[in-house]
């Protein structure tokens, strides 16, 4: 399939190569490693319609649920124009824009993306994106260690538990020691004394329970320690939150999936990273800059490439070469469509819905954890005798069951116990009717 060669083509090509058969092209491969296709167990090809039928069968095995969960990826509205534009084949089927003259479209889009991410995070510069929110945080950790040269970092237990696991994996491979800062009453104990010096203090705002953290404590400790401040944020909520640079952030990163990208069963997502002018040359990944061409016309190019693996090889600041360009482009279109007011409206509407959901559940006797102010997510405590039936009923009525926080690994014994705690979320995409129907299921179980 998809190969254009006719029998005449093959004859012409083999003649030019002065060979009898294609087999001769493989004469350098030792016989003992040649695959015997007669015994190679691989299915025969399918027609397009057969393949689509197979796909539909798999698709039908997924459940179409109304989403009331988040933990890093969120079910927001996606304007039709986002993928009508980001999905254009000229973008989709292009490669990394090494040849600037032939890639001005993607390069300019990424420049605009970097500008928007810098604006939303409140930082000076941003890179062209990395894989996802978890790896963005891991890259931020590596960047901080590279700058401060202390192989130790302090990480809040308020960071998304999935991200914490990725940080731990990277830290172990690299040889970085992580000091976990426990959660107490829903907020991180930043003031905990740490032995020795750390390269960075790492936190998430709001933390994974949905609670707003004590940013002043973060700033004090980060400054006392003369370490870098790394803050993982939600780009939608950050439009209404105090800018991380005001409480000591040197690197701001996070998951950009909320900006027009489908949840996609977990990927591809969009990791973003932004930093100060001072640390600009330590930022990993691709970066686009503005310059001029020979005629003095504005042009965009990949720049600061000396940091990267294809030049520095083993001395590179990271091994990363892929970014999530297409998703970064989608985010750029999304942010353009929504604009400064629209983004704040998404935040406002999501917060309204989440608080309404919390109040309605509370009214029927569900225990809502209100230790601190929350925005778009909140924890609830569900008794063990109720959760099984609740899960089943929610699923059968077409709703996602809440996320069980007790299932995640706790790296820190002193951190508060999350057994029987569950996480809920309601974005702007949820209608009041959907929220009411969701609550009605809980009412049955709690009655």
């Amino acid at each position: 399939m998809y190969t254009p060669h006719t029998a005449q083509d093959l004859k012409k090509m083999l003649d030019l190569l002065k060979i009898e058969s294609i087999e001769e092209l493989y004469k350098e491969i030792p016989k003992e490693v040649r695959l015997d296709t007669r015994t190679w167990d691989f299915p025969e090809g399918k027609s397009e319609s057969e393949a689509l039928r197979i796909l539909k069968d798999f698709e039908a095995k997924n459940l179409n649920l109304t989403t009331f969960i988040g933990l890093g990826v969120y079910d927001h509205e996606i304007p039709s124009a986002v993928w009508a534009l980001a999905g254009k084949a000229e973008f989709v089927t292009s490669y990394t824009p090494y040849q600037a003259e032939a890639s001005q479209g993607m390069l300019q889009a990424i420049f605009e993306y970097q500008s928007m991410i810098a604006e939303i995070t409140g930082m000076d510069v941003a890179n062209a994106s990395v894989y996802d929110g978890a790896t963005a945080l891991a890259e931020a950790m590596i960047m901080a260690v590279g700058d401060k040269r202390k192989y130790k970092i302090a990480v809040s237990m308020g960071v998304n538990p999935l991200y914490r696991e990725v940080l731990a994996t990277y830290a172990k491979a690299i040889g970085i020691e992580i000091v976990w800062l426990p959660l107490k009453n829903g907020q991180t104990d930043f003031l905990m004394e740490i032995e020795g010096e750390v390269s960075a203090y790492i936190m998430q705002q709001p933390n994974f329970l949905g609670f707003v953290e004590d940013t002043n404590a973060f700033r004090i400790k980060k400054e006392q320690a003369n370490s870098l401040g790394v803050v993982s944020i939600n780009p939608i909520l950050n439009t209404v939150l105090r800018k991380p640079v005001l409480y000591g952030a040197d690197i701001v990163c996070g998951e950009g999936q909320s900006l027009g990208i489908p949840i996609n069963s977990g990927g591809p997502l969009l990791g973003f990273m932004a930093t100060t002018r001072k640390l600009m040359r330590k930022l990993p990944g691709r970066i686009v800059g503005m310059t001029t061409d020979q005629d003095g016309k504005t042009a965009f190019v990949l720049t600061l490439q000396a940091r990267e693996q294809h030049i520095r090889r083993e001395k590179a600041s990271s091994n990363i070469c892929t970014n999530q360009a297409l998703n970064a482009l989608a985010a750029t279109v999304y942010i353009s469509l929504l604009g400064p007011k629209g983004l704040k409206e998404v935040a406002q509407s999501s917060i309204n819905n989440t608080h309404y959901l919390a109040q309605e559940l509370e009214a029927i006797g569900v225990e809502i954890c209100r230790l601190n102010p929350f925005l778009m997510e909140f924890p609830v405590k569900i008794p063990q005798d109720k959760i099984g039936f609740l899960r089943e009923t929610l699923l059968s009525r077409g709703f996602t069951p809440p996320i069980n926080l007790g299932e995640f690994k706790s790296e820190c014994k002193e951190s508060q116990d999350l057994t029987d705690m569950y996480l809920l979320c309601a974005t702007e995409k949820r209608t009041k009717a959907e929220i009411d129907a969701f609550v009605a299921v809980w009412r049955e179980i709690y009655a």
């Binding site: 040359r281 490439q305 000396a306 030049i311 520095r312 001395k315």
Partner: protein, 129 residues
Amino acid sequence: MSKIPSELRYTRTHEWVKVDGDKVIVGITDYAQSELGDVVFVELPSEGDDFEAGSEIATIESVKGVSEIYAPADGVVVEVNEELENVPELINEDPYKDGWVYTFKVEDMSVLEDLLTADEYEAVIKKEE
């Protein structure tokens, strides 16, 4: 043909060293700058940092490559050429004067006697070419 002033001493890693009382001034050679091409950024050490001989002390980036500057002996950084932060091209334009990188207080000045003379350095780059 690159310039190799006879009054300076050199390292095999293409730094020049000029003795100035109890300290030395260090930069990269004309040959090194021409190999690197247009310098776009210089990462400088902080004043007061101490380094062991042979350890990385500064980094010079061009569009096509990166080159490290190594400490010529054990010692402490006295001063850095802050001008390079805004005008890195000084290294290309005038590597032996305005393009100096840092001054260094060397613990044991006698080790500097092991550095190459201009003639010896010329032989080194001939070999590389």
